[in-house]
Symmetry: C4
Subunit: 245 residues, 4 copies
C-alpha cells in the first residue's frame, strides 16, 4: 500500500493526473535549491561567517535526497519497465542520483581539491535529472534529434568557415601579433568570438589585410547565425505544434 | 454633460471612433515629454543654468497630470466597469497615476537622496501607463502569454546552460583569474555576456581549457538566441495575423 | 529621334525590355565608382602622391554626370509623367542629381572645411539615386511600409526597454562610475550597445547590482532582436513571394 | 575488374547504395585528419619535440592521397562523364587534388616562407573537396543559388548602410580620433564590427554626436541581421523540404 502510494507519488509513469505529482514538484524545487546552494557556496563573500548554515543545508539536502533515492528504489518494482529495485538502480537516471548523493558525502572525508572539483562538477549533473520531470528537455531533444542531420551540416559548414578565417587571419597577422595569431589554433579563439558575433575584443586584427579578412568573417558570421537559427526555429515550431495536438 | 464629454475624451472604452481620442493622444505626448524631461534632468551638462526651466516644466507637468487624474476620477462613474470614482481610483492604472503625481511633489519636500532615487524610478512607471493606450503592449503581452510555456522552457534551458558554462569556466580559470572567475556567481557575469553574444570583453578566459569551454559556450549561445527568436517570431506573426483579422 | 533614343536609354519607364537599359547599367556602375572615389580620397595613405589622378577622376565624373543630367532633362519631355524638362527638374530624383553635381564644383572654389563636410555627406546621397534603378530598395521599402505599424510597435517597446535599463544602471552605477553612468543619457550609450548585443565593452557595470540589471538587459535584448527579426523576416518573405508571382 | 571495383568504391556516381561508399568515407576521414595536422603543426607548443611524428604523418598522408589520386584517374574512364583519365584530370575537383598533393611535396624542397604560406592556404582547399562527398554543401549552395538575387539585394543594402554609417562616424569623430576615424575606410572597420553586432570595442566613438550616430547604426544593424537571416532561414527550410521529398 505504501509502495503503491510512493510509486504514484514518485514515478511519473505511474502518476494519474496531468503534469508532475505534488511530491515530484517538491523534489524539483529541492534540486533547484541545492544547485543554488552549490553555486553560492563558491563565492567567499556569500559564505563568510555562514559556514554552519551551509553545512546544515548540505546535511538537509543529503538526507532529503537519500530518502528520495531509497523510496524510488522501493517503489520501482511496481513499474513493469524495471520490475526489481536492482534493474532500476542501474538506469542512467538512478546512477546520476547515486553520484549526486556520493558527491555530498565525499567532500566531508578530506579528499584532494582536484577531486572536490570533479565532484562539484558532478553536482551540476543534477540539472540533467530535471530533464526527467518536464516536457522541456524532451521537446528540445526531440527537435534536435529530428533535425540532427541539418544541424550537423550547419556545424560542419561553420567549422569549415572557422578554419578558413583562422587560417586567413593567421597568415595576415602572425608577424604582427605572434602571441595572438602566431598559429591557427590561437587564431581560432578570435575566429570563434567573431563568427558567433560575441566579439570580446581582447584579440583583434591590426593590419589592413587582417581587418579586411576579419570583416568578411564577421559578415559571413551572420550566415553562421542565420543557418542554425532558421533550422532550430523551424524544428522548435514543429515540435511545439506536435505537442499541442 | 461635461462628465459624458470627459468620459468619451478620456476613457478609451467610451471612445466612439477607432484608435485613441484626440485628448488621449495629447496626454500620451505629454507623458512622453515628461519622461524625456526626467531623463535629461539627470545629465548636468543639459541642466546647468536651466534649473528654472526644469522647475517650470515640473510644475507644468504636475498641474497637467493632476487635472487629468481628477478628470479621470470624475468621468469614471459613467463606465459600467467602475461605477464610482473610488472603484476606479483603486485600479492598477489609477494607482500608477497617483504614484507618478506623488513623485512630483515629494522631491520638493527635501527628502533623502535614496528616496529620490526610488521616486525617480517610480516616475518611469509612466511608461507602463502608455500600455493602456496602444495596441502595442497588448499584442506583445498576448504573444508572450500565449507562448508562456514555450518561453519558460527556453528560459530554463538557457539558465541551465548558463550554470553549466559558468561552472566550467570557474573550474578552468579560477586559479588564474581569482578576481573574475573565483566563484560561480562571478563567472556568471562572463557567461551571460557570452551566451547573449554581447561579449563585452572586460572578462575573458586566458587558459587554453577555459577558451575551449568558452568557444563551446559561444557556439551553444547561438542556439540560446535561436530558440526564443524562433518562438517569439512565431508568436508575434500569429498575434499580428489575429489582430489583422 | 535623338530625344526618343535618349528617353529609351535613360528613362526606366520608357525602356522596352526587362531590367535596366545598357546605358543605365553603365551609369549605375559610374555612380558606384564615384562613391568609391569619395571614400578612398578621405584616406591619406591612399591619396598620397596620387592627387592629380584624383583630380582627373573628379573632372571625369563631373563631366559624365553633367552630360547625364542634361540628357535626362532633354529626354524628360517625352515621358507623360513630366511633359516638360522643368517639371522633371523639380522631382526629388533630379534634385538629388543636381546636388551631387554642385558638390563636385564647390570644393574647387575654396569653401570652408565644414562646408566640404556637408557637401561630402551630400555626395553619399548618390546612394539614394541607386534606388531608382533596382528592385532592391523598392522591395525593402515595400516590406517596411507594409509592416510599418508592427515595426513601430517594436521600436517603441525597444525604446522603453532602453529607458528602463538605462535608469536601472544609472541608479546602480552612478556613484561608482560617475563619468560613464552619471546620468540616464550617458547610461543609454551602454544600454544601446547591450540591447543590440554589440557589446563594445568600453563601458561596463562593475557593481553586483549593476551586473544583475545588465544581465537582465542582455537577456531581454534577445527579445529586442527576436521581435524585429521575426517581423522583418516575415515581411521580406511575403514581399519576395509577391514579386515572384 | 579492379577498375570497376575502384570506380564503384571511389566514384560517387558509380556507387550503388545510398550515401557514400565505405572507401570514400575513409578518405573523408583522412582528409579531415590531414587538415587537423595542418592546423596543429602551426602551433609550436603542439609540435615541439614531435617533429619526427609530424614528418611521418606528412609522408603517410602524401602516400595515401597519391594512391587515391592515381586510383581515381585509373577508375575515371569508366564514368561516361569523363571517358578518359585525362578529361577527369582536368576537372576542378581533380585539379584541387593535384594542388593538395603538390603542397605536400614542395615544402620539403626548401622554398621560400611566402610560398609556404600560399601552399599552406592551398592545403585548406581540401575543405572544398569535402563538398563532393556530402549533401551538405550541395544543399547550402542550392539554397544560396536559388535566392542569389534576394541575398544580393540584402548585401547591397548592407553595404550602403555601412558606407552611410562610416561616413557619419568619420564626420563626427575624425577630429577627436584621427587614428581610428580619420578616413572613411578606417571608419569602416568600426562600422563592420557594429553592423554585424560583433562589437570588438577596440575602436568606439567618444563624442556625443558620434555615439548618437553609432546608436542608430547598432539599431539598424538589427535589420542588417534580420534581413539575410530571414532570407537564408526561408531558403534553407525550402531546400531541406525539397531534399526530404
Amino acid at each position: 500500500m505504501l509502495q503503491k502510494k510512493l510509486s504514484q507519488a514518485l514515478d511519473p509513469e505511474m502518476h494519474d493526473g496531468p503534469g508532475l505529482s505534488r511530491t515530484n514538484n517538491w523534489i524539483v524545487a529541492l534540486i533547484c535549491l541545492s544547485i543554488l546552494l552549490g553555486v553560492f557556496e563558491t563565492e567567499p563573500n556569500l559564505t563568510h561567517g555562514l559556514e554552519p548554515l551551509y553545512a546544515a543545508a548540505h546535511l538537509f539536502f543529503f538526507a532529503a535526497f537519500l530518502i528520495e533515492y531509497l523510496a524510488r528504489l522501493y517503489a520501482a518494482s511496481l513499474n513493469p519497465r524495471y520490475g526489481s529495485p536492482w534493474r532500476y538502480a542501474l538506469t542512467f537516471a538512478s546512477l546520476v542520483d547515486l553520484i549526486v548523493l556520493l558527491a555530498f558525502i565525499f567532500p566531508f572525508l578530506g579528499l584532494e581539491a582536484t577531486l572536490f572539483r570533479m565532484f562539484r562538477a558532478a553536482r551540476l549533473v543534477r540539472l540533467a535529472r530535471l530533464g526527467r520531470y518536464s516536457l522541456a528537455m524532451q521537446m528540445i531533444s526531440q527537435a534536435i534529434v529530428q533535425r540532427r542531420y541539418e544541424l550537423g551540416v550547419s556545424i560542419v559548414a561553420a567549422f569549415g568557415l572557422m578554419l578558413l578565417s583562422s587560417t586567413a587571419l593567421y597568415l595576415a597577422e602572425r608577424d604582427f601579433q605572434p602571441e595572438n595569431f602566431g598559429s591557427i589554433p590561437r587564431a581560432m579563439w578570435w575566429s570563434v568570438a567573431t563568427l558567433t558575433t560575441v566579439g570580446y575584443g581582447d584579440i583583434v586584427p591590426v593590419t589592413p589585410l587582417g581587418r579586411i579578412f576579419a570583416a568578411f568573417t564577421a559578415i559571413t558570421g551572420i550566415g553562421f547565425i542565420a543557418l542554425p537559427t532558421g533550422i532550430l526555429a523551424g524544428a522548435f515550431s514543429e515540435a511545439l505544434q506536435n505537442i499541442r495536438k
